[in-house]
Amino acid sequence: MREQASTPGDALATQEGRPAVASRRGRSPRGEGPWAWLAAGSVATSLALLALLLGLLAVRGLGHFWPADVALVTLDDGRQLAGRAVKEAPLPDQEGRERLYRVGNRDLDGDIWEWVALERIQGIARPADLVVLERRRWGEFMGRLVAIESASGERLVGDAAWPALKERLAVLEDARQQIARLRQETLPPLVRRVEGGQASPEERAALASAQAQLAARQAALPGDTLVLKSVGGRSLRQPLTEVVRALQPNDMGPVEKLVSWGQGVWRFLSEGPRAANSAGGVWPAIFGTVLMVVLMSIFVMPFGVLAAVYLNEVAHQGRLIRWVRIGVRNLAGVPSIVYGVFGLGVFVYGIGGRLDTWFFEASLPSPTFGTGGLLWASLTLALLTLPVVIVATEEGLARIPASQREGALALGATRAEMLGRVVLPMTLPAMLTGVILAVARAAGEVAPLMLVGVAKLAPQVPVDGEFPYLHLERKFMHLGHHIFDSAFHGSDVQATLPLIYATALLLVVVILVLNLTAIFLRHYLRGRHGTRPTY
């Protein structure tokens, strides 16, 4: 038999009455032909692309917070510059390569980038005294700290300056936090009451005292001035109040750098954006995204479950329901922007406009609910994700064995009792899977939000201490839209790029975690219902 297999042509020819068939040459015993390898390659390529994307986001997103060393570059004409290398490229129209340095100091040089041809570089050093300042305006400063002058005229020079700077910066940070609290939490509700003319005398007094307090604190901010000098030799006097953070990266050990990296990540997560979204953190966007998604879940869960229970348990299972079911499934494939259009037309202009004329006439023509806002955004996304929840719940319901329903009915349960006590509790994991998938989808959707309520920059989060605490009509910030906005409407995209990477990484991580949860939940679910109790 073995021999026959190796020469199939001969073996077959010996069979009586069967015409001889020559075996095709060149077919190896295990040969699948070349095409099978292309198929395998497409899996590998897809995985490689995914890995590339995730890796890029992770490296660039997290790397941004690493306090990399600052190089002091000496050029062949004796000029010096301090900066961090970003990338290299061939020189245009000639041999050799050039390197791009991020040098900061926009206020001194007008640009934060500098291209340097490699052959012009005479030497690269990393002196420990190079200082990197993160500032509220003009971005980073890279150079040397010459002196620190306090308002009273005291002047610290040389080695004493740096410790003094660190110490005063800490004091400043405390004061800033107190001011921020006054400004964001205490003042706005009082101001609104007073402006609305409904304030009681006590409230007026409170406002006055709060304002006085604010003024006092602002006056008490350290009035120090830093005397700085760029490596190119240009001097700069920098008020300390403009400085956010000061580092000497070349003087830091790995542990210090790690700590500083952690602080950077934390600031990114916990602070608001600065300088037209080109710097600072994304806290309001995180908050807005989460709040919107939570509201959406509150809308989508009951309605999705209701519709699924109706479709699967109550409705007459005829042709009509079959078509409705296909229709609902297909709505999951309708582009999200179409839902956005529906949200804008029906919720914002339709219902919102109506609400404004009925209840908020006083503030017209400026709209209250007749413009995009948190409520309409979450309702639109709820509609968008409804099919996801319905389909998942229906699958869960269909997977419950008939014996469980019959068991409940046979004990004298009504349909409502059967559903409430046996069927729905067993469907719970499926519903959760559906909601998690819905949340994952909603968290990444941006297009509909552009129509129904996202804001470039919303200084106030939609939750505060003022009644009714949750402001459904306000616009809000969103991580996805933040990415879009800073990528396309910033003035210097190259400078913002690391922050966009970080934001994108954050969004992707959130969505991946949600999806993984759903996948595990579904896995657990299949395991539980797939294997019935053993006998």
């Binding site: 007459h316 299972q317 064995p401 014996s403 469980q404 329903r405 019959e406 068991g407 409940a408 009915l409 046979a410 004990l411 004298g412 349960a413 009504t414 009792e417 006590r421 046996v422 509790p425 067993m426 019935r532 109790p533 053993t534 006998y535």
Partner: protein, 270 residues
Amino acid sequence: MTVMQHTAHGSRALIDFSPQATSLEVRDFGLRYGDKTALSNLTLRVPRHRVTAFIGPSGCGKSTLLRALNRLHDLNETVTREGSIHLEGQDIHASSMVVAELRRRVGMVFQVPNPFPMSIYDNVAFGLRLQGHLPKRQVDDVVEWALQSAALWDEVKDRLRASAWSLSGGQQQRLVIARTLAVGPEVLLLDEPASALDPISSLKVEELIRNLKSTLTLVLVTHNMQQAARVSDYTAFLQDGELVEYGPTDTLFTNPRLARTENYITGRMA
């Protein structure tokens, strides 16, 4: 006591009990799934506090008949029926009959044990709690009584809070019986209750059935001739949706009147 009737258009059997001794009465009952006839023209009486077995080849309609006795077909919209079924003289399809109450009075145990994914205790208390809020003491008592009646108490009394799905198959089936007993039914329908069990568990369930007939009317569907012979007092033989022969188990098995019955019984028992 027993009168067999053989009519020209089909088999029609009647055990002539006094109405006082009859628990369930099926009159000219027929049932169709869409346009497929599952049962036709059935008439029989199920005596109270006895075990009645339905036997017959697969697809003969015995399970269908059993499910009709507590209206489990209500869920299926394609089912149409004719004739009537009476429980203690009351038409079970009458508008005055609440289906949930009917099912409480006519309990049912299925082929594959179907405990709910909750604790043993909660399973048994499930039906009870449907009837309204009861003091915990009372629920405890009923649970214990039901588990004892189902001969399961000694095996589970130390782990009432454990998941019902952790029990063995035989235990699960007795748990399901206990769960049904707890709501105080008058009739217990058993749909091949032992076919998914190993021989020892199966014997335990049979013993339980024999013990229960002092207080309950039992109707048993089974594939297993020996089982029918061992536990039932009366046996009905169904074929192709019709009742062929119905009589005391001893008579039916030892001296069947019709050749069809004999063929089936001997064919299976040989």
